[in-house]
């Protein structure tokens, strides 16, 4: 079984927000709702300054706090590692939103339930990449199977020494090159 993961190279990200728009289109989200948040970091002293943009979405943790706190089992992890929300079971208590250390969850006001990045599982099931990956103009994102040692994502992780965004805060399946 595959264990899906994603890698993001913030050195390549130009902050165009195309991934956010593609995500909103794919998930039919209203303009104010998004599964990708952007954080900006400025470092250094003039003239040696650096400006980094860090897009953050669901990190698809193997020990997902959102899943362990969910009182109705609406939040669950698929066999392929994708963390999902069953909207029929979700009561919208927002406990998962409190528990998620990455602030990756959004309340979908039309249904009152919680939503988040699901690695575009409908596209992935058809063998395609998630919308944020295909739309990225800088090829900053890589999607693939972390269980396959020869997958492109594993090669980039090894080559670039990619890390989780917050160390071992959770067992995330999302890697960053920074």
């Amino acid at each position: 079984m595959a264990r899906y993961g994603m890698l993001l190279d913030t050195g390549k990200c130009v902050g165009c927000y195309a991934c956010r728009v593609a995500c909103q289109m794919q998930n039919e989200l209203p303009p104010g709702e998004s599964y990708i948040k952007f954080y900006e970091n400025e470092t250094g002293v003039f003239p040696n300054v650096n400006h980094e943009i860090v897009p953050v979405q669901c990190q698809h943790c193997e020990d997902a706090p959102c899943v362990s706190v969910c009182p109705t089992t609406a939040s669950y992890i698929r066999e392929d590692g994708i963390v999902m929300v069953d909207h029929f079971k979700c009561i919208g208590c927002k406990y998962c939103m409190e528990a998620c250390p990455y602030d990756a969850r959004e309340i979908h006001h039309a249904t009152g339930t919680i939503d988040k990045c699901v690695f575009c599982q409908s596209l992935v099931e058809q063998g395609e990449d998630p919308a944020c990956v295909t739309t990225c103009i800088a090829d900053a994102r890589v999607f693939g199977d972390l269980d396959d040692p020869n997958s492109h994502i594993n090669q980039v992780i090894a080559e670039q020494n990619a890390q989780h965004i917050a160390g071992d805060l959770t067992k995330s399946n999302f890697y960053y090159v920074r």
Partner: protein, 301 residues
Amino acid sequence: MVWGIMITWYLFLAGLSAGAFISSVYVDNKYPGRDKFVLISRIVALLALAVGLILLIADAEGALHNPLSLFFLLHGTRTSVMSWGVILLIIAGIVQFIMLVYSLFKSKQNKLIDIIAKIKKPLEIVGVISCLGVGAYTGLLIGVVKTAPLWNNAILPTLFLVSALSSGIAASQFFSAIFVSNEAKGLWSLKKDHLVLLIVEMLLLFFMLFIVNSGNAAGVESVQSLVSGKYTILFWGILVIGGLLVPAIIEAIEIRHVNHDPHLNPNLILLFVVEGLVILGGFMLRYLVIEAAVPLNFLGF
């Protein structure tokens, strides 16, 4: 953090309900004959629980759109503190309801009342245990949220439990004093225990803030906003001085006086002031703990 005023009210009311029920059982056993005090305490407890639960469900937007989803609470994950809470609240609610019916119709000859009278002791035990559980659960619920250092510590559930008992005892005295002032007066042993709870609560609050303040940046930011920032006036004025220190001092003086003169006629106005302040302080504790929580900075910048 995303939880707001409705969850604050729910955490406060659920705790108050648990405390008021335990207070009713205590008085029923310690001071036989104060039936109206017991009855009013049980009404307050059940009403608080009901209003709290309505607020909880109203905050869960998904359940408003699809009420059927609430049934999944009953066979949800056993890792979720919220699903333990649901079971505790159901048990506590049922026992509180049965005991209220008993208190209401105690004097009447009725088969149902006879049955309840026979199992009164075990019911009381189950009720007290489930209410202690509810009081602790309101703290555990947010205590397991690793994202917020102000919540994620072992002292918080204990502090919430102690505060739940304290505000419940205060509410049972406050509302009984409105309707049957003679039964709410002179419960000195309850007042002594209440004083101990207030002192323990002050210590726990101090320990919790002290320890969280020695932790990571988000914890420090939370504590600073309470003691010397955005919430300073509410924290010191309403929670520490108004909700804990002043009631504790007045109760200590009252208890000292009554030790000298056991037949002292307690001052009803003082009772309203003390218990009202404790209830206000109990609410303020939940409000501040919810509002002042700052999430961990996972980005490292």
